[in-house]
């Protein structure tokens, strides 16, 4: 197979930092090559170097990029413009930012068509419709006249793909194309990309940090670390036996089902790229490093179908298969710590001169939960289903419309809020926006203690030191500002802040979704240790089912403001009953080959909570929907052991 894209010794500098250092790989026509790595490893910079779209101050210092035998780096900018979008197209991570919000989708596709195929008028419109059809946009003719904001995230990403396809590219570069999307939508978009690649015999360079996406889509895999490729091989070989210690640790850091033990973490961080780097770049974080690693940068070694840059290639001990230890699931009949009944949060929608209320966004609509002390309840759902609003309503950061919250046998009202806040705290999603950049870490930790009057004022400083130690931060961290810390360390600070008032229940709102896999493992380990040591209960809000499997005892699945399935986490994930849960579980890209069972692809998107469908909210997307689903909302169907589901189909009424 002759290579479509040949990259040889690519070196890219941005200012003083060498962000891509001697990267070489090939992509054949009809093949998907995945570049895998954590953030800051130079994956995106490699792609931008290929397109010659580097940010200010960036330049390709050496190397060649051959597309079909032609060196792109030698082309004048004029010729390069016809290559971009014409022979080589790119899809970006954030579809809302990549589409112009004030131009109709059809015109944006038409622009690319006019440029690369010289089509205009009716011919262009037909071609644009055909493209939207090809990427699986339903009702394509009508969508041509839609503005980007009228489309959902998944449709926008498809429109982006349609634009990229307008020039009939030979090579498609997809830079984290589904990271901003929900799992069910991600599954749709990845399927579109797979089909297109097969139909058009395109080469595809897929850039991602998600091993699951790689496992389902790539033909060959390259692992990047600190600007270098460390390992390369076919998907089968790579997933069967990753050779580089870094690749192995990436695998081990992933939470997997039935895994009761601690996750492997990769200590340290990706090194700064602006200094001189001697030896192997992974050496400071590598558990197998020997003296030679420190001084000599390893060369490529071939092992069967794989190439790897490691002095110890082939000599590493075989990976122990991880014991799938069944977790001790002691079912306690304890009194619940937190009991929520009929919680509703409706946001009024006001229109017109007099601001009359014309409707309600039912963000949370009749949610009931119970959490026992020392246990974890995971609340799972796609974005926009109201799971974050549940968390905020519990803390009364958002005033609930109706419902009762009973904490430790005491009903929570506006009057005893201070008591509530000592028992209940929150860890936020983004550690970069959850810490005030203008406050020292010690002041951040003291804030809650001061406000709630925890402990004697004189002992609070000592409490800060204890907290820092508890979350594994250095003692001198208190005097520094948040910007001096990495994402994982910042999340530790956020956890310490929540623990400062010694709560019994912590609401974790997607605490790891902004972090890399290796850092995610550290945070999950920490949360688990804290639960064991302090008897904390967690309400774990997430969209990541792998994390749920690792951490949660109970699981509640939310769809459009309501809980549709609830039960012991292991049972729900192993044998989901609600069609939505089934789709959600099957849409998660997995590293292991699927053990039978076809993947359920959901059609369409989640409807707006402003105007939910009648009857069962899920019926427009449900493969099993019958007449009754359109008319009435289903009641609970108990399946025993606390497992219940709201579905007419499961109840046998369809």
């Amino acid at each position: 197979m002759s290579a479509l894209l040949e990259v040889r010794g690519l070196v890219t500098d941005i200012g003083a930092a060498r962000v891509v250092d001697g990267v070489s790989f090939d992509v054949a026509a009809g093949e998907t090559y995945a570049l895998l790595g954590e953030s800051g490893c130079g994956k995106s910079m490699t792609a931008l170097s290929l397109m010659r779209l580097l940010p200010d101050g960036g330049r390709v210092t050496s190397g060649t990029v051959g597309l079909d035998g032609e060196n792109l780096l030698a082309l004048p900018e004029r010729a390069m413009r016809t290559v971009r979008g014409g022979r080589m197209a790119m899809i970006f991570q954030e579809p809302m930012l990549a589409l112009n919000p004030v131009i109709k989708v059809g015109e944006q596709i038409g622009e690319a068509l006019a440029l690369h195929q010289s089509l205009s008028g009716a011919a262009a419109r037909d071609a644009a419709r055909a493209l939207l059809d090809a990427v699986g946009v339903p009702d394509a003719a009508r969508r041509l006249d839609a503005y980007p904001f009228e489309l959902s995230g998944g449709l926008r990403q498809r429109a982006m793909i349609a634009i990229a396809l307008a020039g009939k590219p030979q090579l498609l570069i997809a830079d984290e194309p589904t990271t901003a999307l929900d799992v069910t939508i991600q599954a749709q978009v990845l399927e579109v990309l797979r089909n297109l690649k097969a139909e058009r015999r395109m080469g595809m360079l897929l850039i991602t940090h998600d091993l699951g996406v790689v496992a389902e889509n790539a033909d060959r895999v390259g692992v990047m670390y600190a600007g270098e490729l460390l390992e390369e091989g076919t998907r089968e070989a790579f997933f069967a036996a990753p050779q580089h210690p870094y690749s192995r640790m990436l695998f081990d850091a992933l939470p997997r089902p039935g895994d009761g033990g601690r996750l492997t973490t990769i200590p340290g961080q990706v090194p700064q790229l602006d200094g001189a780097l001697a030896g192997c770049r992974f050496e400071p974080r590598c558990p197998h490093a020997v003296a030679r690693c420190r001084v000599e940068s390893p060369d490529w070694q071939t092992l069967g179908g794989q190439r790897v840059r490691c002095h110890l290639a082939g000599q590493l001990p075989a990976q122990p298969s991880r014991a799938a230890a069944a977790r001790a699931m002691a079912t306690q009949a304890a009194q619940p710590l937190l009991q929520v009944d009929g919680l509703k949060v409706h946001f009024p929608v006001r229109r017109g001169l007099l601001q009359r209320t014309v409707g309600h966004v039912r963000a949370v609509d009749d949610v009931s939960l119970a959490i026992e002390a020392g246990r974890t309840l995971a609340l799972v759902g796609e974005s926009g289903c109201g799971k974050t609003t549940v968390g905020k309503a519990l803390l009364r950061l958002t005033e609930p419309t109706a419902g009762s919250v009973v904490l430790d046998g005491e009903a929570v009202t506006a009057r005893n809020l201070a008591a509530l806040r000592r028992q209940l705290q929150m860890v936020f999603q983004d550690p970069f926006s959850s810490l005030n950049p203008r406050m020292r870490v010690a002041d951040i930790l003291l804030e809650g203690m001061d406000a709630l009057g925890v402990g004697a004022a004189g002992q609070r400083r000592a409490a800060v030191a204890r907290l820092l130690q508890q979350v594994g931060l250095p003692d001198d961290a208190g005097g520094r500002y948040p910007h001096a810390f990495s994402g994982g360390q910042r999340q530790r600070i956020a956890i310490a802040r929540a623990l400062a008032v010694s709560p019994r229940l912590v609401i974790c709102d997607e605490p790891t979704s902004a972090l890399d896999v290796s850092v995610q493992a550290q945070i999950l380990n920490l949360l688990k240790d804290l639960q064991d040591a302090l008897g904390l209960a967690y309400l774990f809000i997430t969209h990541n089912l792998a994390v749920v499997e690792y951490l949660a005892h109970q699981l509640a699945v939310m769809y459009l403001g309501r809980i549709v399935e609830h039960g012991p986490a292991a049972e729900v994930l192993r044998a989901p009953r609600h069609p939505y849960t089934q789709a959600l579980v099957s849409a998660v890209p997995r590293i292991e080959p699927h053990a039978g069972g076809t993947v359920i692809r959901l059609a369409g998107d989640q409807p707006s909570p402003l105007n939910p469908p009648d009857g069962c909210h899920f019926h427009p997307r449900c493969p099993h929907a019958g007449e009754i689903c359109r008319r009435t909302y289903p009641d609970r169907t108990e399946l025993g052991d606390g497992h219940w589901v709201r579905c007419h189909w499961v109840a046998g009424q369809v």
């Binding site: 200010d56 905020k392 803390l395 950061l397 809020l417 201070a418 806040r421 705290q425 929150m426 936020f428 999603q429 983004d430 926006s433 959850s434 810490l435 005030n436 950049p437 203008r438 406050m439 951040i444 804030e447 809650g448 406000a451 709630l452 500002y481 956020a494 802040r497 929540a498 008032v501």
Partner: protein, 468 residues
């Protein structure tokens, strides 16, 4: 004691402001996240050059804010009586520049009046340009004027250069001692701009200022450097006196603006709801009234009040001063809306951020959230607005005085200078120096302020900072 200190209202406020700036500077030195951007400002050659020019203006303005009254000669020592004329330290420093009045207009560096008059010469009455009383009075005849001007200019230039080189030498000696390097190494670092601060620019600008100062000082000893105005006052003196007016307007107005803008802007954005509605209505209404109209009305009311209560003001300076203060207040009241709107928008964004939510989850009070989480994070906007608004306010004063609703007509200000020059522009040959002087001084101040503001904005704007 032969003088009685006089503290005008604006003097007091100017020095309160100075103290506040010094306290703030001391506070900033201790806060790493505030010190870093100022250090970035100090590393920018353009901003540092502009800051030096601004500093000259500020020093003149501050000297001009130390007022006193002289004791009348002959008044008894036990019951001293003081002159009604209020002078400042600056007046004392410039000496005769204040008192050397001609009869009427004279051109810059002239030795004769601008208009012909009947003069006695050798017993005959002829119509000719009479000699000035002070300007060029030391010259015997017109032919000596040019060589004398040239000689004085060169002398001033040399003096300025010598002073510049002396200062440079002192700087070099101090730096060499402090950093323990050799003089050669320091000089080559200085020449290549490797010192970590814009030493070249500072040295060049200081030397330039000294040279200009030297030349003007030499010339002013014998001539009216920028001519004289209608009543024969030295235009250079008027221009220099106007600096204080401009600075007072530019800074005190901000003092009025800030509490309104910060308080109402943050309150509107943070509390939302009816608080937001009320504040928005207030500033929308205020914005829709023509500013000049409001200012004219307020200034006229103050004028009437001053005239109906003469016993409250013992000097003309106090009367003019209270009008200046009133102008600052009313301009502040009309100009807070822009910053308030900006701060409202920023607070709207900040209040939804997770760290504010986290603070609310702890039940932290609103006042503390605003004080610790919101205000420190909008502070850079406030700083940028202060320096950007300053030049606009200086120019606004000129426009308002020109329209006739600005400062008191007896007060020295660039607006009044322009207003006075307006009618004379139609004369032939044209009387341009009054207008030209006001223009040059305003231009220098506003340009310096704007360049400095650019530097501050670049250093504080987080989006700009991210790119560097």
């Amino acid at each position: 004691m032969s003088v009685q200190p006089v503290v005008l209202w604006t003097d007091a406020l100017v020095f309160v402001l100075l103290a506040a700036v010094l306290v703030l500077a001391w506070a900033i030195r201790r806060q790493e996240h505030l010190r870093a951007p100022w250090a970035a400002v100090a590393r920018r050659p353009m901003a540092m050059g502009a800051a030096l020019v601004l500093a000259v203006f500020v020093v003149i303005g501050l000297l001009d804010s130390l007022h006193y009254r002289e004791r009348l000669p002959g008044s008894p020592a036990d019951a001293p009586q003081y002159s009604v004329e209020v002078l400042s330290v600056f007046d004392a420093l410039v000496g005769t520049l204040r008192t050397q009045h001609e009869k009427t207009y004279s051109a810059p560096l002239a030795m004769q009046l601008y208009a012909k008059e009947f003069v006695e010469r050798d017993g005959e009455t002829v119509r000719d340009y009479p000699r000035l009383r002070y300007g060029g009075a030391h010259l015997a005849h017109a032919g000596e004027r040019r060589p004398d001007i040239a000689w004085r200019s060169v002398t001033g230039l040399v003096q300025g250069l010598v002073a510049g080189v002396l200062l440079f030498g002192l700087l070099a000696a101090w730096q060499v001692r402090r950093t323990r390097t050799s003089l050669d190494a320091w000089l080559s670092d200085w020449g290549a701009g490797r010192l970590g601060w814009p030493a070249r620019t500072v040295v060049v600008v200081v030397s330039l200022l000294l040279v200009v100062g030297g030349v003007i000082a030499q010339l002013a000893a014998g001539y009216h450097v920028l001519g004289t105005d209608k009543v024969g006052q030295d235009v250079l003196y008027i221009s220099l006196k106007s600096i204080r007016t401009g600075l007072v307007i530019g800074t005190l107005t901000t003092l009025v603006t800030l509490p309104l803008a910060i308080g109402l802007g943050i309150a509107a954005g943070y509390f939302r709801g009816w608080v937001d509605d009320v504040i928005q209505y207030v500033y929308t209404v205020l914005n829709s009234i023509p500013g000049v109209l409001l200012i004219a009305a307020a200034v006229l009311i103050v004028q009437v009040y001053i005239e109906s209560n003469p016993e409250l003001f013992d000097t003309a300076a106090a009367r003019a001063d209270i009008r200046l203060l009133a102008l600052c207040v009313i301009m502040g009241v009309t100009s807070w809306t822009g910053l308030a709107r900006l701060l409202r928008g920023e607070s709207l964004k900040l209040r939804t951020l997770d760290y504010v939510e986290a603070a609310r989850a702890f039940g932290v009070s609103h006042a503390r959230i605003i004080g610790r989480h919101i205000f420190p994070n909008v502070f850079h906007l406030v700083l940028i607005a202060i320096v950007l608004d300053f030049s606009g306010l200086v120019l606004a004063e000129a426009v308002l005085s020109y329209v006739g609703v600005g400062v008191d007509p007896s007060m020295y200000s660039w607006g009044n200078m322009i207003n006075g020059a307006r009618l004379e522009l139609a004369r032939e040959p044209v009387v341009w120096w009054q207008l030209g002087a006001a223009f040059a001084f305003m231009f220098a101040l506003v340009l310096a302020a704007n360049l400095f503001a650019d530097g501050v904005r670049d250093a504080f704007d987080p989006r700009q900072g991210a790119r560097r």
